[in-house]
Amino acid sequence: MTVELLQVIKPTGEYVEEIEPDISKDELRRLYRLMVLLRNLDIRGLQLQRQGRIGFFIGSLGQEACQIGSAYALKPQDWAFPAYREIGAALLRGATLKEVMNQYFANAEDLQKGRQLTNLYGLKSINFVTGSAPIATQIPHAVGTALAAKIRGDPVVTLVYFGDGATSENDFHTGMNFAGVFKTPTVFFCQNNHWAISVPVERQTSAETIAVKAKAYGFEGVRVDGNDVLAIYRTVKEAVEKARKGGGPTLIEAVTYRMGPHSSSDDPTRYRTKEELEEWQRRDPITRFRKYLEKKRIWSESDEKKAQDDANHEIDEAIAHAEKIPRPALETLFTDVYSDMPWHLEEQLRELQEEKGRKEE
């Protein structure tokens, strides 16, 4: 059981060559640009909410390395089960910013048909399963999908995202236990961002670490610096490969920090100090990765400017598009409850249409 924190890139940008993963220059640059996009998307998302242009926002400020590093370790046939902060993972796996923005605006082009809060996103074509608000429920799903793949003999691994708070929930226990018993190819990726809304992680558990909890289920738990994209990639990749080879599940605790509010409804100054935040800002995962790229001389000031400009431009365009699209049709209130609309929903739809008609007269 590793309880130390694996680190590849030091806060200064220096790195441990022996464990540096083998990623091409272009790919490294792509990953960085994605992290920049994600950061800007988060900032803009919160702004959009504050301006009343979208209804709600929940971001991943400070957790960009977790998202990008983990998702990059998956193959296309693998499945990802997000909680609600994992838009970065979706983008990396191939979701377009346009699709994501349609979800933010919950418009008629949103694949979720405007039915879910911002960032409860899913995309079937990339095996990225639509999340839900209840904490930890996705964990047994990831185990079930992994078990199904194992039964069918498919080389598929599932990766499930959840927070430190989620480890207190029933379904964390249940999912971990089934994974242990059935040795499913599942990677449990816990982003320990130190807070569950206002409750600090010390109030979630008195275990030494979250990683150690894996021992209760008979498999391995590891800890990784959650602000170090390369360490995360390396750790997740090892776990994914082990799972694919039949080695069973792994719990990964990525130690990071939620730099923003819990969501657009939250005011973190009520329960945590400025000092704590500042301390973590100094460990910003994006800054660190940039220093690394600069050390390796594959990133310049002008690259940076371009990345920022491109990100903002892309976001602007996606917003401009999404905001123009009308809201989902009235009928979508009643579709997809079942595969076919049963009589009582048809009747209720008709009633609503009539009432709307009357009102508009």
Binding site: D110, P140, H141, I151, R152
Partner: protein, 324 residues
């Protein structure tokens, strides 16, 4: 044709469909080696092996949650919950996930899990092996809720459930698991989900019932017949979506309604049927609607017979609405 009881009909149907559809996977507590505590899955582990019939850890939340994950991948999981009373550790997975997956994902992800579970009293099981809380599922959009009352319907409805694209709660009346026997065709057939069955034609009064209570109703109806009251009995079979047409046409015919279920009365499924009738067929009603239901108490032990609706109570209700 084979004469089967209800639990045998479940067993045969599972076997037949598992042969036909290799995506069906059974899972639950004691369903494998032991064949289920009611023997509903007897022999299936031996026949289909440990990848198709899976003994799980003792955790309903895991059984249902893992089933959802399997369904996402394209399998057809059929979890057994040992008793309906023990479904609550998995209730969150049903409410928050199973029922809402299709809707919230805009139809991208579907989870057509069939949850089988024995429900109801009549086996001296006390509080926790007897409850009838079908109303919880009927009040949950996204689920279908099916309760067979005969071996024939058990096979037909379970076959339909196993081929349905939506999640189905398949509640099995354990009281009559072995006591009700009947002819079951060996061939493949379906009883459509969403259709009630007029189990007995009558003119004077309609009794609505389902599951084990159908047989109590039938017994009462014979007593009523002896008193010259000709009662129609409708076996509802599917509770969600329920068959409003059959319900209303029977009410139109008789104008007098008794609803029977063993679930607690307050906010039970009978309330919905009564409300539908009060909304849609008020003028056809010739008498108040009477519900014969379990009392609003936790399920008892020694006084089980007093708790359960019996033919006598149903007969009283029939007479009451008839003589109104």
């Amino acid at each position: 044709m084979t004469v089967l009881n209800i639990v045998q009909a479940v067993n045969h149907t599972l076997r037949d469909e598992m042969k036909r559809n290799d995506k069906i996977v059974l899972l639950g507590e004691d369903v494998g080696v032991n064949g289920g505590v009611f023997r509903a899955t007897e022999g299936l582990f031996q026949e289909f092996g440990p990848n198709r019939v899976i003994d799980t850890p003792l955790a309903e939340s895991g059984i249902i949650g893992v089933s959802i994950g399997m369904a996402l991948y394209g399998l057809k999981p059929v979890p057994e919950i040992q008793f309906l009373d023990f479904i609550y550790p998995g209730f969150d997975q049903i409410q928050s996930e199973l029922a809402k997956f299709r809707y919230r994902s805009g139809g991208q992800f579907t989870v057509p899990v069939v949850i089988r579970t024995p429900y109801g009293g009549g086996i001296r099981g006390s509080h926790y092996h007897s409850q009838s809380t079908e109303a919880f599922f009927v009040h949950t959009p996204g689920l279908k809720v099916v309760i067979p009352a005969t071996p024939y319907d058990t096979k037909g409805l379970l076959t339909a459930a196993l081929r349905d694209p939506d999640p189905v709660m398949f509640l099995e009346p354990k009281k009559i698991y072995r006591t009700v026997r009947g002819d079951v065709p060996d061939d493949d057939y379906m009883v459509p989900i969403g259709k009630a069955n007029v189990a007995r034609d009558g003119e004077d009064v309609t009794v609505f019932a389902y599951g084990a209570m159908l047989h109590v109703a039938m017994e009462a109806v014979e007593l009523a017949a002896a008193k010259g009251i000709n009662v129609e009995v409708v076996d509802l079979r599917t509770l969600l979506p329920f068959d409003i047409d059959t319900i209303l046409s029977s009410v139109k015919k008789t104008g007098r309604v008794v609803i029977v279920h063993e679930a607690c009365k307050t906010c039970g499924f009978g309330a919905e049927i009564a409300a539908q009738i009060a909304e849609r067929a008020l003028l056809q009603l010739k008498a108040p609607i009477v519900r014969v239901a379990g009392f609003d108490v936790p399920f008892p032990y020694v006084l089980e017979d007093e708790y359960m609706p019996n033919a006598n109570r149903v007969l009283n209700a029939i007479e009451k609405v008839h003589n109104f």
